[in-house]
């Protein structure tokens, strides 16, 4: 990523969100939407722009499951890890996806297409197990349904 492009983008975001400390989170969200993840360079520039420490920015970024501090695949599959989905056989969904994609939880496929991650509750407890692929939400999953959905993202 070009530093100038990143800085220009940051300028726009600051113009919109402001430069107060509480604007760090929305700025990070928008940067993630653009770049897919928040790498070292991005976090450094955010820290410099806000005049705060990189450690503080990284602490925020690493706290949220929906912010990535490492490069992810084009499609990030997030499986609900909370108790109602667990009780409705989340484990088998995960197993099916792991074996289909050839990666383990937390990993990214070699072709950088898919990443597997956990997410906390998605609010679909009555229709679990549930998962998200990028911003799309899926519920009432079975292992084969989950695989079909994921493979429909090309």
């Amino acid at each position: 990523m070009l530093r100038e492009t990143l800085l220009r983008k940051l300028d726009h975001l600051i113009e919109f969100h402001g430069k107060a400390r509480e604007s760090v989170l929305p700025v990070l969200q928008d940067l993630q939407a653009t770049y897919g993840y928040l790498g070292e360079e991005t976090i450094n520039e955010v820290a410099r722009t806000f005049g705060i420490s990189q450690t503080e920015v990284f602490s925020v970024a690493s706290f949220y499951h929906f912010l990535n501090t490492k490069e992810k695949g084009k499609y990030v599959i997030r499986i609900c890890r909370t108790i109602s989905c667990e009780l409705r056989d989340k484990a088998n969904i995960l197993r099916a996806l792991e074996s289909e994609l050839g990666i383990r939880m937390g990993e990214t496929t070699h072709d950088k297409k898919y990443s597997l991650d956990y997410a906390n509750c998605m609010g679909m407890c009555d229709r679990g197990p549930s998962m998200m692929v990028n911003d799309d939400l899926y519920a009432d999953l079975t292992p084969s349904k989950a695989v079909d959905i994921v493979l429909s993202y090309r």
Binding site: A47, R48, S53, T55, S59, S62
Partner: protein
């Protein structure tokens, strides 16, 4: 603040609106165990060990973070309180790598004390936590062992709130949460000023300074080596705490005897070099003022002090463009080393190669200062090893010495002679006071116009203090200073320094001379001092320091006979060519990102 009444354990107490339950209990001597709470830091209410029963509340409330309300009925001893607190200790221990007998915090660990307080004889969660996370020893001065971390965030808060550095924070979340730095890099790879306030505020063995004890015993046992020790002013007012003396007990004479008994060949005093620092730094300030006021080359003003190595590194990272404002004087520790290995070695006819210069400092940043490449001459470091006050206490105990048994003795001469002006280097404002005592007298030929030489406006514990002193009756050489109101400022804690230096950067700072100390209360609250360190303990140490000054026969650095002799026999004059070569230094712009 409105007054209200609350009931604790059946008795009625007065309280003020805005107080917490813990505040009232502390005032009334009602014991509440705490762990994440620290008087230096903002309340976070993380550990919950302080829970109490509040009538009408469904759940137990954390005493540290629950404000009192009129008519509140609190119980601190119920079965539910007792069981909850005990469970919290048990859960903390279940996730704590426990190797107490070989832990640097053994018998000085707040988690260990809690386990003792609750009389734990068995672990409910039997499986022992292993050392699953590698220790981070990348810092030049301390080790982080996250296997012992209880996530109380005291280090995080100290680094952010007190120091304004924010080198560590909570990373990740839930059961993956750890304390670490940006990108989970080792601390040695991020901006850290080595001040050790994280170490001083850690309740467990998760943070400890790097020991150099064994190296020093080895040097002492080596017959070829001449081992010279210097002790910083702050040690004499704190070392006693490690041996059960109340905070604020002066143990100067006993310490000198203990060091001699341990086998150090020469027991000297950093205070000698503190007096020397005042001469060099005082004349440097007057030189800058002369340039500024007589239309010479515009010097960098205000000038800031350079004794505190945490502050130096802070400046290098956060205000690199203001490095010309920092005095070029080395710190007393480094001046001492430079004098020992040049002047003293020559005088004694000892090859400097065989001299091992050990310093005892209240400070972890001094360990880093001593290994800076610019603090060496001909590849030979001025100071070879730096011990913290805590490490010295360990060594004294290892030698089988009880400080109580030691008779008072004095430091060796000539590098053990000092004045009260050097003693007060230990307290925030002390360097300023010492510098003013000398500079004012050099300029006017008269003593500073303060009763008993006590420049009280620069003393105290407020984070930033300002004072001014008008120069009347300047002598001929200094006529450019006649009628000038010398403005000075004192700050401690680098979070306060940041505010001050921002004003300097913006050009809104009127002061001529600024003293900055990294740690709360100055060196006496340093990261290497005995634990615990609280505002009360620091006040007691400060009192001892000012008493020692008041009791000193000489209280002005320029009256130190050995310093005068050093100039006569060796250095020539303050800021001479040789003085510059040995006693002054330069800094490294490091930046922040």
């Amino acid at each position: 603040m409105a007054e209200l009444r609350i009931t604790i354990n059946g008795a009625s107490y007065k309280a003020l609106d805005g107080m917490t339950i813990l505040d009232v209990c502390r005032r009334e001597g009602i014991h509440i165990p705490t762990l994440c709470n620290h008087p230096d830091l903002q309340t976070r209410g993380i550990c919950r060990i302080c829970v109490v029963d509040v009538k009408g509340s469904k759940t137990l409330q954390a005493a540290c973070s629950t404000p009192v309300e009129a008519g509140m009925v609190i119980s601190t001893t119920t079965d539910r309180v007792r069981k909850s607190r005990k469970t919290i200790v048990e859960l903390l221990l279940a996730n704590h790598y426990t190797d107490c007998t070989v832990c640097p915090k053994n018998l000085n660990c707040e988690l260990q004390s809690l386990a003792n307080e609750f009389g734990l004889t068995d672990l409910r969660w039997k499986e022992r936590r292993e050392r699953t996370i590698p220790q981070d020893d990348s810092s030049p001065v301390f080790i982080r062992d996250n296997n012992k971390c209880v996530l109380c965030q005291r280090c995080v808060r100290a680094c952010d709130e007190m120091q304004g550095v924010y080198a560590v924070a909570n990373l990740f979340k839930g059961d993956s949460m750890i304390v670490g730095s940006a990108f989970n890099k080792p601390i040695g790879e991020v901006v850290c000023i080595n001040c050790g306030q994280c170490v001083a505020h850690c309740p467990t063995g998760a943070l400890s300074e790097k020991y150099c004890i064994e190296d020093i015993w080895k040097a002492i046992d080596d017959p070829k080596k001449v081992v010279v020790v210097q002790t910083a002013p702050a040690i004499r007012a704190a070392l006693g705490e490690e041996f059960g003396y109340p905070a604020g007990t002066r143990v100067t004479g006993k310490m000198a005897s203990a060091l001699r008994t341990m086998g150090f060949d020469y027991v000297f005093d950093t205070q000698f070099a503190a007096d020397l620092t005042i001469m060099e730094e005082g004349y440097e300030l007057l030189g800058r003022l002369r340039s500024a006021l007589t239309g010479g080359e515009a010097p960098a003003l205000p000038m800031t002090t350079s004794c505190s190595p945490g502050w130096i590194k802070f400046q290098e990272h956060f205000f690199p463009e203001l490095l010309p404002n920092v005095s070029t004087c080395k710190s007393p520790q480094q001046m001492f080393g430079a004098v020992v290995k040049s002047f003293w070695a020559g005088k004694m006819g000892i090859d400097p190669e065989n001299i091992v210069c050990v310093s005892v400092m209240p400070c972890t940043a001094k360990k880093f200062e001593s290994i800076r490449p610019e603090m060496a001459r001909n590849g030979r470091p001025d100071v070879d090893y730096v011990l913290t006050t805590r490490e010295l206490a360990v060594m004294i105990k290892q030698a089988g010495i009880d400080l109580h048994d030691m008779k008072n003795s004095t430091f060796d001469n000539p590098l053990g002679e000092s004045t009260g002006a050097a003693t007060i280097f230990a307290a925030s404002g002390g360097v300023m006071e010492a510098a003013l005592r000398t500079a004012y007298e050099v300029v006017t030929g008269r003593e500073v116009p303060f009763k008993n030489l006590d420049i009280s406006p620069v003393r105290g514990m407020d984070g930033v203090r300002e004072a001014s002193i008008k120069i009347n009756g300047a002598q001929k050489d200094w006529s450019f200073l006649e009628g000038v109101e010398l403005k000075v400022l004192v700050a401690h804690g680098t979070a306060n320094a940041k505010k001050v230096m921002n004003a300097v950067r913006e050009g809104t700072m009127a002061a001529h001379f600024i003293e900055i100390m990294t740690c709360p209360g100055g060196c006496l609250g340093g990261g290497g001092q005995p634990l615990p360190g609280t505002p009360e303990i620091r006040l007691a140490r400060a009192k001892a320091i000012y008493e020692e000054d008041a009791d000193s026969p000489l209280r002005k650095s320029h009256e130190n006979p050995s310093v005068k002799k050093l100039y006569e026999d060796f250095l020539g004059a303050p800021n001479s060519h040789l003085a510059h070569e040995l006693l002054h230094t330069h800094y490294t712009a490091r930046g922040q990102y």
